[in-house]
Symmetry: C2
Subunit: 327 residues, 2 copies
């Protein structure tokens, strides 16, 4: 039995809690929070909610700590600190600073003799490992990653900061015709605008200048200016009724050629269609907890990514069963 | 540089030869054949074609031997024998006897201190590892594997054995509506007939009884009787013009649920669309040669499968580059 601790208790952490319940060889040991523990009600019976400072007392009772903080400010500090006392897993997803995060976490984990998995989830995570498999198998080729249809929380937040906006849900939508060109082996050069479009459902305050809001969204640099963006104003009731979920997904497509002169086209596509982005990410983190313990038992320590995990370590099934039924 | 030997020189072996050419860190050392070497003309300049018995002289000059024999009779004998003298890779694809093959190869490889990869390719191989990832991440779910559209060589051969048939190309076609039901999360129970249909292009001898041929195909047990099968008679010219390739592919779909009460549906789909089945299979084998050398360097010996390979070992890129650009 792998005993798991959770740090934080937002959407991702609740997903971790639910995913642990689906695995008989994993158990939730405790949840640690920065909030007043008495104010945090979790789903699992008979599991304590404790203040963050209490982790020190749990070093011997937790096999793996899953860190459910944000990538902007929490994880860069949190993961190296926790890696001193625990085997840890995070979902650090700021692609540009992954190498620096890796170094910081690795230094702590190597020194303490723990194993630390960073950047787990689906992108980075499953999408990354599929990019790796596909590029290793089809070296003469090109990778394309499309995201959506799904809710981008960063973009939704950006719109919410515009004066007069009460709420927003922003959907990132892949351009199907661009995906079809990639699948057909055209190897197109695609601009930002050609790959994805954006759709914003906005609840405006009474009397707000909707034209001004729409303009502020569509011209927002980095977030929207480079995309075809549609803005639709809806009521708070519609928002609650139709947009309470956090769906997401996307596709990694490798288009390559084989043959003596590259005469045959080959396409590898990996596609996720997710009703709940945080719960799916959490399910990846939880499978990684099992792998962490197996790798640690073989003497592996330091910072590791999904590229380093022999896939069998993610599964609860013994080798005999994998050979007989899954290979 | 990884020096690769190839045993055999059929479609798969030629694909291996082409795939090696696409990788700067891999080199073809020699091709070994059961035929008269003088009768075998390979594509790569300055590489010897040698009789099978010559392998003994090449123990020190070949890092990995890729065995391009058939699964029915060649590989069950060949892989354990070659594993005594070489690190080996095969594409053994008789799912039912993989455990027995594993044991035989493992015994030989453990004793000789070599590493042996079996059942590499796409199914078994990439499809298997995707079934493993997906089932580990979504334990409450169901796997579906669909094949095609593609040429099944076994089914084509079976039709060719019918009296009056000069040639046949049999395409396995997945039933799109069944795939859509799976993607929609219906978790249907699908019969053999509901998952795939079969389409046979047949060249009949002059004066042959076409009705009898069609009936012999459609009622053939195991191969066709359980499927909706269409038979179309074409000329030898049409066969050569339109059906000379060996396309294939398929999808592995995992449909699962997450959440405290399984309230959210999640779908993982891995899809291959291949113009050349043997060349793609070969590309997997060749990437595995690199992984075999890296794992061997870490002291790993014995029989291994795609489940045991840390994905990073398949890539020629150093860790720093993987972290910076692929994760």
């Amino acid at each position: 039995m792998v005993n798991i601790g959770i740090v934080g208790y937002g959407n991702l952490a609740r997903g971790v809690e639910c995913a642990i319940r689906q695995n008989e060889d994993l158990a939730l040991a405790a949840v640690f929070t920065r909030r007043d523990p008495a104010s945090v009600k979790i789903l699992t019976p008979n599991v304590p909610v404790l203040p963050l400072e209490a982790t020190a007392d749990w070093k011997d009772r937790i096999d793996v700590m899953i860190l459910c903080g944000g990538s902007a400010t929490d994880l860069p500090k949190m993961t190296p600190v926790f890696a001193r006392d625990f085997n840890v897993i995070d979902s650090f997803d700021t692609h540009a600073t992954i190498p620096a995060h890796f170094e910081n976490v690795n230094a702590a984990a190597v020194e303490s003799g723990h194993i630390a998995f960073i950047s787990m989830g689906w992108d980075p995570g499953l999408f990354s490992v599929n990019r790796l498999y596909a590029s290793a198998i089809l070296p003469q080729g090109k990778d394309y990653t499309f995201w959506g249809k799904g809710v981008s929380q960063g973009h939704s937040d950006a719109v919410r900061r515009i004066p007069g906006v009460l709420d927003c849900r922003q959907y990132t939508i892949p351009v199907e015709s661009a995906m079809d060109r990639v699948r057909a082996g055209e190897n197109p050069q695609l601009s930002t605008r050609e790959k994805h479009s954006r759709y914003c459902y906005v609840v405006a305050a009474e009397g707000a200048d909707k034209a001004a809001i729409e303009n502020a969204i569509k011209t927002m640099p980095n977030y929207f200016a480079d995309y075809d963006t549609t803005v639709e104003f809806i009521s708070m009731e519609e928002m609650r009724r139709d947009h309470s979920g956090l769906p997401h997904g996307g596709s990694v497509i490798r288009s390559g050629v084989t043959g003596w002169d590259g005469e045959n086209h080959q396409t590898i596509e990996y596609k996720l269609t997710l009703d709940s982005n945080p719960q799916f990410t959490a399910s990846v983190l939880v499978a990684c907890a099992r792998a962490a313990m197996k790798m640690k038992a073989r003497g592996i320590t330091g910072c590791q990514t999904i590229f380093d995990i022999p896939p069998a370590d993610l599964s609860p099934l013994p080798r005999e069963e994998l050979l007989a039924h899954m290979l």
